[in-house]
């Protein structure tokens, strides 16, 4: 351990000890975007006011148990954590204040407990790690989510943070770090699943003095919030991964790229970068080593295509986020014409675990072809929506829905799942037993993509959902390639008339022809994959289309009067 790091570690350990086993109870309120939507900030403010100096009240990240939010826990000095779920501001004050003052947990209201020993009087309350939403998880990238204050770097360091970086800088040369990542079998989590070590290997040997590692947190996929989830709960995990990537590829600069409006991820990343500079974890001669590295946070405006790797570089350069022609590939000439590598937030966030625990340990999690975990965002018609990090291949889609997400709301039947972002369509019953890993999901018409899985029940009409997805794709076409820009528009019009029972006999064939033009005539995945949602819906749910076309009625009534309120705009 370097002298500089051991000093950081000692200070962090002291602070952590005083938080968890000092003289005051520690009350943690989980806050991510979903926590905000559930009222966590209001609960936090009410607790601060009610408890004053009686307890330390902190905002921590979200554990991903979104269905239980606002989720608040109380830890008496040296004791176990006792969690209370769905705790609104008023109730939070009653329940938490009573717990803090008496030292006794409210057994009737307790949701779970976590620690070495079960607190007295909590018989019948489940251990956190035994909850059906927590037990199946293997947390690598989200290891500390909900445990620490994401804005406090010391709390990350006290829990093993930056150990991997310190070890890499002291004991491993860059080539060895690159080898570890190669050997771990890590594949990119942004959707394309390309081997990360190979990608880094394109950049590493380039002798240019200025080289960029770009971290993509555009995260425009509706239904996916795991990139934001990591930045909301533990931005230093990503930052440590980004520094390790810079070291392994001999790069000079890192950039964290986030969409404007993602307030918490932006604030947390900026704070993390600022604190890392102050502690000597960024800048010149990091932790006293020979390695120097600069990191900044860059924002994009609202544009889904800005998440495409070459469009992303255009956005960082301040231009319209339209994809570039390739070659040259980014590793040869990327941002500002310099060699660049683009990685997703999740991908980089595994790097600390890989370097800390070793490639072999990472490979033991997941399947032979996809090591590590999938960070799932399960939403839609389920009882327990949330963000769950599970080993690749450890669950089928059906198991994830039934066992983790608590089955379909209202006891209804699952009709479809939609995974991989809006360029993939709904998948029916035949796909429910696919294991959740890149290769198994790819055997359906879907993609694991970035991990968002949206569940539709028996009341959903496939035409209706597909129209919604295609409206998104139309709205977000950047307009550079006309087959995409116009094809999407015609596709939405066609789906609209089918949905209104006004479809024409040859509409299905027409959409297929448009789709084929889009696939062949578009520069990036947005147009190339643009017909996917329709193709998938037709494969599994042709009956829904036939009902609209032939019987002139919506099979479930979901299409109503055929009106769907969406923005109508085509990029100029």
């Amino acid at each position: 351990m370097s002298v500089a790091f051991s000093e950081l570690r000692r200070k962090a350990d002291d602070e952590w000890r005083s938080l968890t086993a000092g003289d005051k109870p520690w009350v943690r309120v989980g806050l991510g975007t979903s926590g905000e939507a559930a009222g966590a900030e209001e609960a936090h403010a009410a607790l601060i006011e009610a408890l004053g100096s009686e307890a330390t009240v902190s905002l921590v990240g979200s554990m991903g148990l979104c269905y239980a939010e606002p989720l608040v826990d109380v830890q008496m000095p040296g004791g176990a954590r006792v969690f209370y779920a769905n705790l609104g501001a008023d109730e939070a004050v009653d329940v938490v204040a009573a717990h803090v003052r008496s030292g006794r947990a409210d057994a009737a209201r307790a949701f779970a407990w976590h620690g070495d020993e079960q607190p007295a009087g909590l018989d019948g309350v489940t251990r956190l790690t035994e909850l059906p939403t927590v037990r199946p998880q293997t947390r690598l990238a989200t290891r500390l989510a909900g445990d620490i204050d994401p804005r406090d770097m010391s709390q990350y360091i006290a829990n093993g943070g930056y150990e991997a970086l310190d070890r890499a800088l002291n004991e491993l040369d860059p080539a060895k770090v690159l080898d570890e990542v190669k050997n771990s079998g890590l594949r990119g989590r942004g959707g394309a699943a390309f081997p990360t070590g190979v990608k880094w290997g394109f950049l590493a040997p380039n002798p240019a003095p200025v080289k960029y590692v770009l971290c993509n947190c555009e995260e425009g996929d509706p239904g996916a919030f795991n990139d934001k989830g990591i930045l909301e709960s533990c931005p230093h995990t990503l930052l440590e991964g980004l520094i390790l990537a810079g070291y392994a590829t001999n790069s000079s600069n890192g950039i964290i790229f986030i969409r404007q409006g993602h307030t918490l991820p932006i604030e947390n990343s900026r704070k993390a970068v600022q604190d890392a500079y102050a502690a000597g974890l960024l800048g010149q001669n990091i932790l006293g080593s020979e390695f120097s590295y600069e990191v900044e946070v860059a924002l994009t405006g609202d544009s889904y295509v800005a998440g495409e790797e070459t469009a992303l570089m255009e956005a960082i350069e301040g231009k319209r986020s339209m994809p570039r022609y390739r070659p040259p590939f980014p590793a040869a000439a990327g941002l500002w014409g310099k060699p660049s590598n683009i990685n997703n937030v999740k991908t980089l966030s595994y790097a600390p675990a890989i370097v800390r625990e070793g490639a072999e340990a990472f490979k033991r999690v997941g399947t032979e072809t996809t090591s590590g975990t999938a960070i799932l965002c399960i939403t839609g018609a389920v009882n327990r929506p949330g963000m769950y990090e599970v080993a690749m291949g450890s669950l089928t889609v059906r198991q994830a829905v039934e066992e983790v997400a608590g089955g379909i709301r209202g006891g209804k039947k699952m009709k479809m799942f939609q995974a991989g972002g809006p360029l993939f369509g709904p998948i029916g019953e035949e796909g429910f037993d696919a294991a959740i890993d890149f290769d198994s999901i790819a055997k359906t018409t879907g993609s694991l993509g970035s991990g968002g899985i949206i569940i539709g029940d028996e009341d959903v009409c496939a035409v209706n959902l597909t129209r919604n997805l295609m409206s998104f794709n139309q709205f977000e076409s950047c307009g550079k390639c006309f087959p995409c820009r116009l094809g999407m528009t015609h596709m939405v019009e066609t789906l609209e008339r089918i949905s209104c029972n006004d479809g024409r006999e040859d509409d299905l064939a027409l959409m297929q022809r448009m789709g084929s033009s889009m696939r062949m005539g578009s520069l990036c995945g947005h147009g190339q994959l643009g017909y996917n949602p329709v193709a998938s819906a037709l494969k599994y749910f042709e009956a829904d289309f036939r009902s609209h076309l032939e019987e002139k009625r919506c099979p479930t009534g979901a299409c109503g009067d055929g009106q769907m309120l969406t923005p109508t705009r085509t990029r100029p």
């Binding site: 975007t33 979903s34 905000e36 939507a37 559930a38 979104c66 269905y67 939010e69 995260e219 425009g220 996929d221 509706p222 239904g223 996916a224 919030f225 934001k228 404007q260 409006g261 307030t263 900044e296 946070v297 860059a298 924002l299 994009t300 405006g301 609202d302 544009s303 956005a315 960082i316 301040g318 231009k319 319209r320 986020s321 965002c377 399960i378 939403t379 839609g380 018609a381 929506p385 949330g386 963000m387 939609q418 968002g452 949206i454 569940i455 959903v460 959902l465 919604n468 409206s471 998104f472 709205f475 950047c478 109503g560 009106q563 769907m564 309120l565 923005p567 705009r569 990029r571 100029p572």
Partner: protein, 168 residues
Amino acid sequence: MSDGNPPSGDELPASAELRKRARTALQSQQQPTVTVLSSLLAVQDEFHYVPDEAIEETATHVNATINDVWSVASFYTNFRFTPPGEHTIDVCWGPSCHLNGAQNVIERVHSELGVDGEGETADGKLTLRYSTCLGACALAPVIAVDHHMKGRISPDSAAAVVEGLKGA
């Protein structure tokens, strides 16, 4: 729209004030890399829209043409060119929200506001925007009031929120 030259002496005081605020916002950017896009974001943070004067100031600040700046400003859907109302309501229509009844929420918000799409109410006080995804999909359907998320929304609770804003 002027030709990008510095404002002439007889420009309206309001316009000169806008330019001053725009220049301060442009110069206050903290990050090392300043671009057309970062500058426009700084301007919109300051005014909650991008006034014509600020387009020109941005062009001067980053040494670009007014065309360059307009090209970027017109591309990203978060930029707007007229002042918004006092309060802004974003309603998500992404697929997770859609499957949880977002269309009914949007319809109800329309009728409460007396509008039939995105934009301002007749009195100009409230702005409605559709959002492709607000990022709190597990709490669907979601709306945001002045950028603050509210989840598990029903048409009735959305109506109550709008009612509260009208009174505010």
